[in-house]
Symmetry: C2
Subunit: 242 residues, 2 copies
């Protein structure tokens, strides 16, 4: 499984993904699930993938190939005129990859499926955040639903639902993200550190702060331990049942 | 779906269940999922069910019928000599009901399945808590895993994992339960109020405090609203990402 969150904020887009993949319970690996394309001043595109690793890697490779040779740039995410068109290209690529697998050889229900969170901005347009389904259609985040989760999303959802604020800055939103990821990690073996993140600053049109947070990262450890105590204290502060 | 939690505490057993059932998203109803049998001074047995409603109601009816007429009391949960034997009777009944459905008419994968949390105490034995699977086998709670959840369990799990303490009293454990239920309710349409609860006091061998908490219950509203604020404050108290 996987856990990825894409969050639309007033100040930008924060995206975070875990890196664990598993083929069965006894075969786990670490793979990057976050990929970015950028041309400073023109566009920044970041996507995160959940689902069948062969499918998601093929999607990334196809998108990547099409950005390399100028004559092969149609359709390329680096040439698309808007984020909506980028989402279409990614969605079509995803659908094609799944269809190609499903047609050949063994059939396995849903086994080739994948879901993608796509965020970014292209010069002249606003920053946008999409959730792309394996069927090749997609939805966009708005003020009512300002964040998307894919993969093992239930454990980390309550804290997002309750504490997310669009006005959060990068530092505060990272804290919220790590609490949500830590809650998932503590409950599910198929989600694992390290976590990749990228914060795209609205209208900057260049890659923002990004990096990888390891399990033994001192800040992550502070959050993980601090959150247990903070939760207990928060619970303690509420009135007992009479 | 459903959400039920059974919690083993130093002072007793706390069990809570929601009441929402749904056949599709457009057909929801309210049904009691908690059932108790008691003979003061001799035994108290409480069970909670998740899964196919026809299956769980049939299980309850069969167990109930067998407790009525003395000559038909074998095997009855009211006559079994230990909680382990009670768990066996319940598990066998569950397996029988599922097998009977699965044999006749249409096949639907897992559609007749159900899972049961069973807790209680019989004179001369300790209080015990079991999780019974549709296959008719079961596991028992111990010091390492002192609570069981069935149904839509992921949303409400992180707070249980972090804040549960075996030394909690009834009033404090109820608070924790309601926070866990509220987190689930806020994220999933298939779990709904009112919530039924029963607190069995260890070694009392009689029914303890029990009741039903409605959505507009003032205490529940206090917890639901207070928890949002408390979570935000808890998050605020942690250091921001540098």
């Amino acid at each position: 499984m996987t856990y990825c969150v894409g969050m639309m904020l007033d100040h930008g887009l924060l995206l975070m993904s875990d890196t664990r993949t598993n083929a069965g319970f006894d075969n786990i690996s670490t793979f990057r699930k976050m990929h970015s394309w950028a041309k400073p001043g023109d566009r920044v595109i970041t996507m995160m993938t959940a689902g069948n690793l062969a499918t998601t890697q093929a999607v990334v490779s196809l998108l990547e190939e099409r950005t390399k040779a100028p004559e092969d740039r149609a359709p390329s995410v680096m040439a698309a005129p808007s984020m909506f068109q980028v989402a279409r290209i990614v969605a079509d690529t995803l659908r094609e990859v799944i269809a190609r697998q499903a047609d050949t050889g063994q059939r396995a229900d849903s086994a080739f499926n994948a879901t993608i969170i796509l965020g970014g901005q292209i010069a002249g347009g606003p920053q946008r955040l999409f959730l792309i389904y394996p069927e090749g259609n997609f939805i966009e985040a708005g003020a009512d639903t300002p964040f998307f989760q894919i993969g093992e999303m239930k454990y980390g959802r309550p804290i997002l639902v309750r504490a997310y604020e669009p006005s959060m800055g990068f530092a505060e939103a990272m804290k919220l993200m790590l609490v949500s990821f830590d809650s998932t990690l503590k409950a599910n073996l198929t989600v694992g550190a390290p976590f990749d993140y990228h914060f795209y600053q609205r209208d900057s049109l260049c890659l923002g702060p990004s990096g990888r947070i390891q399990l033994d990262d001192p800040y992550y450890q502070t959050i993980s331990k601090g959150w247990s105590d903070a939760l207990k204290e928060a619970l303690h502060g509420l009135p007992d049942f009479a």
